[in-house]
Every structure is written in structure tokens, then in C-alpha cells.
């Protein structure tokens, strides 16, 4: 590795100049290069070189590979396909090999060692690059799924004045805001006095989620609607009590059925006309 590095160092200026010419011919790369200032480019190059040295000379690969992976992810995110990289690696290989044969024609053993070093280095780099692209793709898919879920916060009206809001999946700040917003709009449009927020589909309620949910309930209360939160499993309840985020001031009930029964009572529905009664009759 060391021998390869020394050889690369010696030929770096010439190799880099040629590679730059290759990069400029690939539109996607050229665009990224243009989006960076010369100072930024120089800085990145310097850092990349130092990390590369650390990897090849000291055998400490991790910082270099991590840096490479981070850069690759950025490239992947800006929509530069993986295949774009390949001519770059090929040019590098061909160029360095040519210079190597020229320099050490009389010492084939040395040429072989340096070639091995180069190939080892390039293989690792390409491997990391490929992995980073896979990861970026996975993330993109995850984000799209998230976006789809976000668009589907159904708020159903069970009867006059009663809304039901099933919350499913991840409740981050953005989604909590969106849930609250659509909830408040619905409360106004439907003149709801009661909302059942069912969180059976929320796998984990940590302090932040609890806080978001409590705030949504508080906002609803300010609009004149009472919120009942249902679907907190015994395990989640215990975890919430342990961390101390019990959502005080929020009425909670074990499951949706109890929530509907409570709604019947609060809205003054008799047993025969009650939704709880109907639901029970249906399942019987």
C-alpha cells in the first residue's frame, strides 16, 4: 500500500489534471463542481488527500471510507447515477498503470506490487461507493413512504359532533403539526364537540410524541372540543409513567371501544341508540 501511495503522490498532479478533464466531460459531475467555490473544492481535496494518506500509509481506513460514503450519498441524492463513477475509476486505473509501466519497466515485481495496491484501494473505494448508493436509495424510499402516510390522516365523523382520528406510524414534529392542523380544521368544519384520537397504530410514545399529542389535545380544547386518547397499550402506559410524561390533563382510555362508550355517555346517547351498542350488536 505504501509503495502505491508513494507512486501516486509522485504522479498526483498529472493524474489529477487528467481526471479533472474527465470529470468536466461528465455533465452531472461538472454541475456539482461548478456549484462549489474554488476554495471549497481545494478544501475538500486537501481533506480527502489527508484521509487517503491515513488509510493507505497508516492503514486507518475508516475515516477515509466514511468520508467517501458521505460524499457518495450526496451525489446519489443529487441524482447522479452510480454508473457515472465508472469512467472515472477506469481513467484513473489506465492512467496510473501507463505511468507505472513507464517508470519501472525494468522492475516487474515492483510494478505488480504497486498494481495490487492500487487495485486493493480502488476495490474498497468502489465497494463503499456502491453501499452508499444502496443506502441513499433505501432512505429515499423510506421518505416517500413517509410522505404517503403523511398525506393520509383520515378523520372520520362517527356521528353529529363526534370525530375519530386514527394516528398511525411515526409522529415527528412535522407530522404532529399536520395532524393538529387537520384536526382543528375538521373540528371547525364539523362543529365537533368530541374527538377520539386512537393511537393504537403508534408503536412507541416517547416524551416528544407524548408532548405533541398533548399539545394537539390542548389546541382542540381551545376550539371547544374535548379529546379522548385511546389505544395506549399497557406497556406504553408503563413506559410513559416511568419517564414522567403521562400527558396529564388528557383523558385516556384503553381502547377504541371504551372511547366510543365514553362518547355515548358524554353526548347523552341512550343504550339503544348508542354507537357502542350497535358495534357490539354487529360483532355478536
Amino acid at each position: 500500500m505504501r509503495e502505491y501511495w508513494d507512486f501516486y503522490e509522485k504522479n498526483r498532479d498529472a493524474v489529477d489534471a487528467t481526471l479533472r478533464a474527465v470529470v468536466e466531460k461528465i455533465p452531472a459531475f461538472a454541475q456539482v463542481m461548478r456549484s462549489m467555490s474554488p476554495a471549497q473544492l481545494a478544501e475538500q481535496e486537501k481533506r480527502g488527500l489527508a484521509l487517503q494518506r491515513q488509510a493507505l500509509v497508516e492503514g486507518n481506513w475508516r475515516p477515509y471510507l466514511e468520508d467517501l460514503a458521505a460524499q457518495a450519498e450526496n451525489f446519489a441524492r443529487s441524482g447522479i447515477p452510480f454508473s457515472t463513477w465508472l469512467p472515472l475509476f477506469t481513467s484513473f486505473r489506465v492512467l496510473l498503470r501507463g505511468r507505472l509501466f513507464e517508470a519501472y519497466a525494468a522492475d516487474p515485481a515492483r510494478v505488480a506490487r504497486i498494481l495490487d495496491g492500487m487495485n486493493h484501494y480502488l476495490d474498497r473505494a468502489v465497494g463503499v461507493l456502491g453501499d452508499a448508493y444502496d443506502l441513499a436509495k433505501e432512505r429515499l424510499i423510506g421518505q416517500q413512504q413517509e410522505a404517503i402516510r403523511e398525506l393520509s390522516t383520515p378523520i372520520l365523523q362517527l356521528r353529529e359532533g363526534l370525530l375519530i382520528l386514527p394516528v398511525v406510524g411515526l409522529v415527528d414534529t412535522r407530522r404532529a403539526r399536520q395532524i393538529t392542523e387537520s384536526l382543528l380544521l375538521r373540528i371547525r368544519d364539523r362543529r365537533a364537540e368530541l374527538v377520539i384520537m386512537d393511537i393504537t397504530g403508534v408503536p412507541i410514545v416517547d416524551s416528544k410524541v407524548a408532548n405533541h399529542l398533548a399539545q394537539a389535545c390542548e389546541a382542540a380544547r381551545l376550539m371547544g372540543a374535548q379529546v379522548i386518547v385511546t389505544g395506549i397499550s399497557p406497556e406504553i402506559a408503563q413506559a410513559l409513567v416511568t419517564i414522567g410524561a403521562e400527558m396529564r390533563g388528557v383523558r385516556t382510555l384503553a381502547d377504541l371501544q371504551s372511547g366510543i362508550e365514553e362518547a355515548d355517555r358524554l353526548q347523552g346517547f341512550g343504550r339503544s341508540k348508542s354507537l357502542a351498542h350497535e358495534a357490539a350488536a354487529e360483532t355478536a
Partner: protein
Amino acid sequence: MAVTMAPESRLPVRDDGEIVGARRAARALAATLGFSETDLTMIATAVSEIARNMVEYGGGGEMTFAVIDGDGRVPGRRGLRITATDHGPGIPDVERAMQDGYTTGRGLGLGLPGARRLMDEFRVESAVGVGTTVSMTKWVV
């Protein structure tokens, strides 16, 4: 003292999606150790708190999950150790940050103290300008 560790898994935690990933990984690994459903939820909740802090305050970081066999005092006792490391601004006053209700953000200030109560062992090491490491362990009773 025989502390042997199975190969650990390591995950980056840089955004909400990866917080979910960390939570799932912890839960899945913990489930193989035979934790109760309540313990699994406690572990996932603690991971969620600490992972969120890493993303919100630590500029993102990394979590490792390791199975521990034997804790020295109780041979053969198994546990799950979670280590969260970031290279963010660090916490100037850890003792204060560990108090219920203390927050420099808009949270409830219950993440660190809550996670400590959810787990059996809990340690925060932090240096300003260097970063923060939280390590926490739950033992299978």
C-alpha cells in the same frame, strides 16, 4: 470476570427515519434475549429518547447494540448494552441535564432522566466541543 460480547451492530442516527431504525434494531435484538413485552417497550422508548437527543442536539451520531453475557457479579446474566455517541457540542452541565424538566430546546426535559429510569444502568459522558456518549444497559431478569 467473564464478559463476552456477541458481535455488535452499529447504526447511524441522523434523522427521524434512522431514529425509527435504531428503535427497531434495539427491539429486535432485545427480543432475541427474552425480555418481557414491557421491557422491550421500555428499551425502545429509551433508545428513542437518546436517539432524538443525538439528532436534535448532537448533530447526529451513531448507536451500537451489543449483547452482554455476564456482568461480573452475576455470571451468565445477559443484557443489552446500547451506546450512543455523537460529536456535537456536548453538554456543559450533565447533572443539570439529567434533572426532570430541564431542557434547552422545546422538549419536556424528560428524555435523559426518563431513559435513566427505563434502563438498569445509565451513564452520560460529555465534553463541551467534543461530543456526548450515553451508554445504557438493561438486564434480562
